[in-house]
Symmetry: none
Subunit: 226 residues, 2 copies
Amino acid sequence: MDDQNRPNITTTNCSTLPPAPPLAAAVEQVRTRWTPKPEQILILESIFNSGMVNPPKDETVRIRKLLEKFGAVGDANVFYWFQNRRSRSRRHQRQLQANLAMQQAAAALSGHLSEPPSWTYSLSTSSSGSSCGGGGGPGGNDIWSNAAGTIPVFIDGVPSEVPRGPIDMKASFGDNVIIVHSSGQILPVDEQGILIQSLQMGYKIYLTGSSLMSSSNLNGVGQYNA
Amino acid sequence: MDDQNRPNITTTNCSTLPPAPPLAAAVEQVRTRWTPKPEQILILESIFNSGMVNPPKDETVRIRKLLEKFGAVGDANVFYWFQNRRSRSRRHQRQLQANLAMQQAAAALSGHLSEPPSWTYSLSTSSSGSSCGGGGGPGGNDIWSNAAGTIPVFIDGVPSEVPRGPIDMKASFGDNVIIVHSSGQILPVDEQGILIQSLQMGYKIYLTGSSLMSSSNLNGVGQYNA
DNA sequence: GACATATGAATGAAAG
DNA sequence: CTTTCATTCATATGTC
């Protein structure tokens, strides 16, 4: 990693952070950690989803100034936020990949061994409370948040959910992916892999095979900054 | 630590993990959370108490499969469980250390300044509802659970409690500690610092001084996995 | 059925 | 970057 990025953590003129007084342990209560305001999260998310997942130092400063309109925040906070966001996004994606891979394995086992060059996953809205078809657990599982901002869908029979609004296709499904409407029309995705319009029923996701299996290539995903 | 640990959170089949959809903070609510079955808790506790406090990823998967015999659960749930367990165990321990340290300070002040090479803490069963003499946490502290699996005791006048059954002496009292029966016999502790037999009335805990004062050495405590 | 507590999950911060 | 830690949030659960 080059030195360009890191915002010199600690210090700087971090307007916000109480630099965590190195006080004795016993009686330290008031340690405050930054809690981003909803508006700030919105800004950060939109920047991240716009493809800038690893802003350089100067950009970080710019972002911080933007965020300061809505509450105290320091460069370090912004840096950490992007770092965690990247990390967790990647992990999330790995999970998704694992799910899909397993789905493939299951599909490969049950029936047709023909290996198509691409896999098809149909999306459709689903009602909540559906039993988990994937063989996982029906019971009290948690991933099924009926969050207001998401659309519950099935991806090839596996219940999942996608955010309402623009979707980061790369982060969600990997590198080689396109979306086609049931009419056959291919939805445009920009250079960053961002699908601008919100998903609707009747769309299908096609993964172009190769991107699925290897987990190594995942390292490249989400690197579309620069 | 290597990359071996993290269970790739999620998992495999649909069962579990919501790796936190990158959702915005403001408006996300109702998510159902995993509630472990009693059998599952039993398994998890016994694994934890056996010294495996931070199972590597593959082990986590193994554990999950075990737990699935009793109900739907995902790798992430297992991962979170151990993470929380570790965290809260550590916190509890910190609190205990704080109490003891304070106790020492009080002892040092009141009366004899002679400094023995070791401190003695007598254990005895106590009734619940005792006021905390240590002066440590005033507010609504949480450590006083009347859990079924624990034995309420006084440690040198400070109310505390130890789990019924095998005790992790390192996690509970620090590195340099031995337990002697009132008869003078020293109880055996294995390499991991685990006391196999359950504590009974009539035992005393001797802390060999040095381990108490520095808080830095606490970092090593609880690391006996591997 | 509000309140108190236990605890699963999320996440900012930091260590490795 | 990856993994861990600490803190916080939200909910399940128990009590009156």
